[in-house]
């Protein structure tokens, strides 16, 4: 019944574009029978033989359709069914693995997964797994991974959408699934495996098989990797341009390896600095290592996210650091922000969630003064006097493309009240600006 009548009474072209008519078909598919009849008549009137549509055009159209609609369309005729299975349409796939008990989102249907593994695993190139907080989902992802024996992936992403559920899997189970891909792909270029139990030996496998192609590796919070493990990657993968990891993996050796002659210019380095237990002591990185980095890759971006207690900042910002994007996830002292102003000349974006009880005035002025690249700043619970804030904006001027501060932390003073500050800041920015507001309720 799904077959469009147009098959028999073939006629020449139609005035309507193929995409449009195709949409029409798609729309009525799930609806009632009568309507479908009507459309059949419609299509007949146009007298268009859908089966004659060249595969390339069909492919083009199919690329714009969501999977479900393509599946419906695939039931129309043999030609469309073939088109449905064209490799081009299966290069990119996102597996969504959610359990009804732990997620609000729908999951990729198990039958579809089976079909992909059976018919399209060798077509897959860009694959990501979105996994909810349940161990079952993480396990399901590993099951799929371990079946991708004849694939050659370029991109693999393992993304935990809620709690990091891969961490709850037995390490060996996870590793054996992941190494299947490492071993078989041989041309992995991007790998995102944050919050997983990946370890040093598995990274060795990755390097052994993909060292020529690997360009991006994101592995924040992988507790089983050691500084030596990541060093091995940096030593062998000279094409690596983007790297994300936790501070405990960062070492002088790593920076030197990344800035060796054989190595391409690094583009992004993202470091998360997270305190696992209060009062933790953090090691320092030599200024000379950072200098080597900047010298080798003058344009590289250093993104650092800090989630530390105020008293854990001791070793940081004592010397010049080439940070470009800086985020403080919790309260940070005036002293540290003062040091930021002194030692971060490449700073582009600064986000501070909170600071102590005293206003940030001098620190901001210093940052405006010294960080001449700064173009984005976000301040959460950071009290700033209105006049210092205006002064800051005036100094930075129009290069501040992002400026965000909560209204309630701006302290009115003798020069500006809250109404005036919005005009004053708008004037210096050259665009309409308002402080962020939160509902009073």
């Amino acid at each position: 019944m799904k077959r469009v009548k147009g098959d028999e009474d073939a006629c020449s072209s139609s005035s309507e574009g193929p995409t449009e008519s195709c949409k029409k078909v798609r729309k009525v598919q799930p609806s009632k029978e009568e309507e479908e009849e009507e459309t059949d008549v419609d299509l007949c009137e146009f007298g268009f033989d859908w089966a004659l549509l060249p595969q390339e055009i069909l492919l083009n159209i199919f690329q714009f359709l969501p999977l479900l609609d393509r599946a419906y369309a695939s039931q129309v005729c043999r030609g469309w069914n073939q088109a449905f299975h064209m490799p081009e349409l299966w290069r990119c796939f996102e597996f969504e693995l959610n359990q009804p008990a732990s997620s609000y989102l729908k999951a990729t249907h198990p039958d579809l997964i089976k079909q992909i593994i059976k018919r399209h695993s060798n077509h897959l190139q860009y694959v990501s797994f979105k996994v909810d907080s349940s161990t079952e989902s993480a396990e399901a992802a590993c099951d799929i991974l371990s079946q991708l024996v004849n694939c050659s992936l370029k991109t693999l992403g393992l993304i935990s959408t809620a709690r990091p559920s891969f961490m709850e899997l037995p390490k060996s189970h996870f590793i054996s699934a992941l190494t299947v891909v490492f071993v078989n792909s041989k041309s992995l270029s991007s790998l995102k495996i944050d919050d997983t139990p990946v370890d040093d030996p598995s990274l060795k496998v990755l390097v052994a098989n993909n060292s020529d192609t690997l360009r991006m590796l994101k592995m924040s919070s992988c507790p089983h990797v050691s500084p030596a493990g990541i060093l091995c990657v940096a030593d062998q993968c000279h094409g690596l341009r983007e790297l994300a990891l936790n501070y405990h993996l960062l070492s002088d050796e790593l920076l030197l390896a990344l800035s060796s002659e054989k190595h391409v210019h690094l583009e992004h380095l993202r470091i998360d600095v997270v305190s696992e237990n209060p009062g933790q002591h953090f090691h320092t990185i030599k200024k000379s290592s950072w200098d080597a980095m900047v010298c080798h890759s003058p344009k590289f971006n250093l993104v650092m996210y800090f989630f530390l207690y105020e008293d854990e900042f001791g070793p940081f910002f004592r010397e010049e650091v080439p940070i470009t994007h800086l985020y403080f996830g919790r309260s940070v002292s005036k002293d540290v922000l003062g040091r930021v102003g002194l030692h971060c000349p490449r700073l582009v974006e600064l986000v501070v969630c909170a600071n102590g009880l005293r206003p940030l005035d001098e620190e901001l002025i210093r940052i405006a003064n010294r960080c001449t690249q700064l173009s984005a700043i976000g301040l959460g619970e950071c009290e700033v006097s209105c006049s210092a804030f205006v002064e800051f904006v005036k100094m930075c001027g129009r290069r501040l493309s992002q400026l965000s501060i909560m209204e309630e932390v701006l302290i009115p003073d003798h020069k500006y009240n809250l109404d005036e500050i919005h005009w004053e800041v708008s004037k210096h920015l050259g665009r309409v600006w308002f402080p962020d507001m939160m509902p009073t309720w």
Binding site: F64, P66, R91, E94, A101, S102, S103, L105, Y126, K130, S133, K154, T155, S160, T161, A162, R163, S189, S190, K192, D195, M216, K218, S220, S221, R241, E242, E267, H268, D272, V274, P278, Y305, F307, L308, H325, G329, S331, V348, E349, V351, C353, A354, L357, A376, I377, G378, G380, E381, S401, S404, N417, G430, V432, D436, M437, M438, P439, T440, W441
Partner: protein, 635 residues
């Protein structure tokens, strides 16, 4: 012809500024004031004892005020749709009046009652008094082209979507005339002309029920911190204004320990139940300001809380799915976790973070918490720490919070969880630091968690960091007498900020390194300020900045406004914005419209969904392209 009126109280539990009640009295021979509640339903409803107590006290107060006018309140047991037919017959009713309810559920219920009344030949009169402004009017204005272009033959884009930023909302309100002046209280004279005989056994049938009758156990119930009723509301209003006058400063007060505690001048529950008219509050504030500030027109910020309330009412009025993520066109779809145990810990106040636990305890005991305290617990539950859906939090507030109104509650939760009304998401309230900054002494904690009262200030916000000796000396061992923190906040916020970034980047199609630039541009914000500002502009102290509209359009968030239509409210395109709610006919039309509209909406929702899917697909397409051409793809 005899006019027998029934005024149906729902919200608006007051005799002052009650236009629908005035209509009931107008030329009537008899008037009965009715409140309908279903005692069977009470126990099972998701409404806690404090809210019921507040309601019953408000009804008691209403009854006693009516007694002073030789009338009574009729509390009728049952469901409106079931009790009205018999009331209409029994009392020979010819006129039914009630206050307009803007919320989708209320509109539906009222539509059915109006239809029923018509079948019984009963005239219905509906009046707006729960909000300052006519919400439909605001929505209509939101969809009109700027005034300057209005005479231009270009059609109005009337697509019924509400303003989605507070700034936009304020700009619209600025263009509106002032809210309607409040009406005086019902007088003895008015009442005496339409006095209804009260039966001797009135109390047997129509008395205000007790909490016990509703199935609540009242043994050991603490006295109410917030006493319900119009009389209390008016007393508080006076105190509120006295304090404002005394302080003579209209700036928002800095939050401190005192602001966290329920204040005898707090008004929000009274506004919620309509014990206090928002217009009375509005005009009192306005007059006071003008008196103290030498006739200068007050800025909109003076009415902050009142306007936020309006903002959320407007956002919710045409959106039946406003209180959920699924099927809600303004809500960002976020892959929240399902975690009943964690949710229960939060709701019971046993998270192990004293700041969060104290707030939740205060909420449960007293039914009110400061708005910044709401921010703190809402952020903790959702995007800050636990990554649990705002819908769960909203339901807990619905049960416990006296001033939780459907629209305001859902809207605020969406706001605080960064699920709607695009804002910066980088800022998470720290469950330790925020409390400590607000009340360094920790006395607030000691008040609501007496177990921790002997902890030194240094550790009271993070008792798990106290050395064992300190814990012993304070007679409260963490992990034994008080729970350990349920989550490592540093780790949790690291994960969550990444997730929020992911969600927002998908919406904004932004793939750079900047966190701040991940937030999608809000197009409506980019609209130029109205050029014709003469009408009803109260902003004598202000003048618009001289930046051209084009500039504001492209520079708002530093990026050109990209095609961003996944989340803007498009689903109400077919809405007829009938503005009047006064007469019956229109109401009926409105209802028919609603029915049609629902069909259309459904259809459109489907379409929209398809569009969305398509867009996602396109996004993936882009993603694919990008991964082919560039190494950077797994943002």
């Amino acid at each position: 012809m005899v006019v027998n009126s029934v005024h149906w109280f729902r919200k608006g539990l007051r005799l002052h500024d009650n236009p629908a009640l005035q209509e009931a009295l107008n030329g009537a021979d008899t008037v009965r004031c009715v409140y309908i509640l279903d005692p069977w339903f009470a126990g099972s409803a998701n409404v806690g004892i404090n809210r019921w107590r507040f309601l019953l006290e408000s009804l008691e107060d209403l009854d006693s005020s009516l007694r002073k006018l030789d009338s009574r309140l009729f509390v009728v047991r049952g469901q409106p749709a079931n009790v009205f037919p018999s009331l209409f017959k029994e009392w020979n009713v010819t006129r039914l009046t009630f206050e307009y309810d803007s919320e989708p559920y209320g509109k539906e219920r009222d539509g059915a009652i109006i239809k029923m009344a018509q079948e019984f030949g009963v005239e219905t009169i509906v009046r707006n008094s729960h909000t300052l402004y006519n919400l439909d009017r605001i929505i209509e204005m939101n969809n009109c082209p700027p005034l300057a272009v209005k005479n231009h033959p270009i059609v109005e884009m009337n697509n019924g979507s509400p303003p989605l930023t507070f700034k936009r909302f304020q700009a619209l309100v600025n263009r509106l005339e002032l809210p309607m002046k409040p009406l005086p209280t019902i007088t003895q004279e008015q009442m005496s002309s339409c006095r209804t005989k009260i039966a001797d056994n009135h109390d047997e049938h129509y008395s205000v029920p007790s909490l016990e009758e509703l199935g609540f156990k009242t043994q050991g119930l603490d006295p109410a911190v917030w006493k319900g009723g119009e009389s209390e509301a008016l007393e508080r209003l006076n105190k509120h204004l006295d304090r404002k006058a005394w302080v003579a400063s209209f700036e928002r007060a800095r939050i401190n320990m005192c602001s966290l505690i329920a204040s005898p001048t707090g008004l929000s529950p009274y506004l919620r139940f309509g014990c206090l008219s928002c217009r009375v509050f509005y005009y009192n504030l306005r007059e006071l300001y003008m008196k103290l500030r030498k006739h200068c027109s007050p800025p909109l910020s003076l009415f902050g809380q009142l306007l936020w309330r309006e903002f959320f009412y407007a956002a919710g009025t045409n959106n039946p799915n406003f209180d959920r993520m699924e099927g809600n066109p303004i809500c960002v779809q976020i892959p929240w976790d399902h975690n009943p145990e964690a949710l229960a810990k939060w709701a019971e106040g046993s998270t192990g973070f004293p700041w969060i636990d104290a707030i939740m305890t205060q909420l449960r005991q007293e039914g009110w918490i400061h708005h910044l305290a709401r921010h703190a617990v809402a952020c903790f539950l959702t995007r800050g720490d636990l990554w649990i859906s705002w819908e769960s939090g909203m339901r807990v507030f619905e049960e416990l919070l006296l001033d939780a109104d459907w629209s305001v509650n859902a809207g605020s939760w969406m706001w605080l969880s960064c699920s709607a009304f695009f804002q910066q998401f980088f800022h998470c309230y720290c469950p330790v630091g925020f409390g400590r900054r607000t009340d360094p002494s920790g006395d607030y904690i000691r008040r609501y968690i007496p177990k921790l009262k002997d902890y030194p200030n240094r550790y009271i916000y993070e008792p798990w960091r106290a050395p064992e000796s300190v814990q012993k000396a304070a007679n409260c061992i963490v992990g034994v007498d008080y729970p350990k923190p349920m989550i490592n906040h540093a780790e949790g916020s690291r994960l969550n900020i990444e997730r929020m970034k992911q969600v927002y980047q998908q919406l904004s199609h932004y793939r750079g390194l900047s966190l701040l630039a991940s937030v999608p541009t809000i197009q409506e914000e980019a609209e130029p300020p109205p050029t014709d500002d003469s009408q009803a502009s109260s902003s004598t102290c202000e003048s618009p900045p001289h930046t051209s509209s084009a500039q504001s359009n492209t520079l708002k968030r530093g990026r050109p406004s990209e095609p961003q239509n996944t989340q803007t409210c498009t689903h109400t395109k077919h809405q007829h914005t009938s503005t009047a709610k006064g007469d019956q006919q229109q109401d009926q039309e409105q209802q028919q419209d609603q029915e049609q509209q629902q069909d259309q909406e459904q259809q459109q929702d489907q379409e929209q969904q398809q569009d969305q899917e398509q867009q996602q697909e396109q996004q993936q397409e882009q993603w694919e392209e990008q991964s082919e051409h560039q190494p950077v793809d797994l943002q």
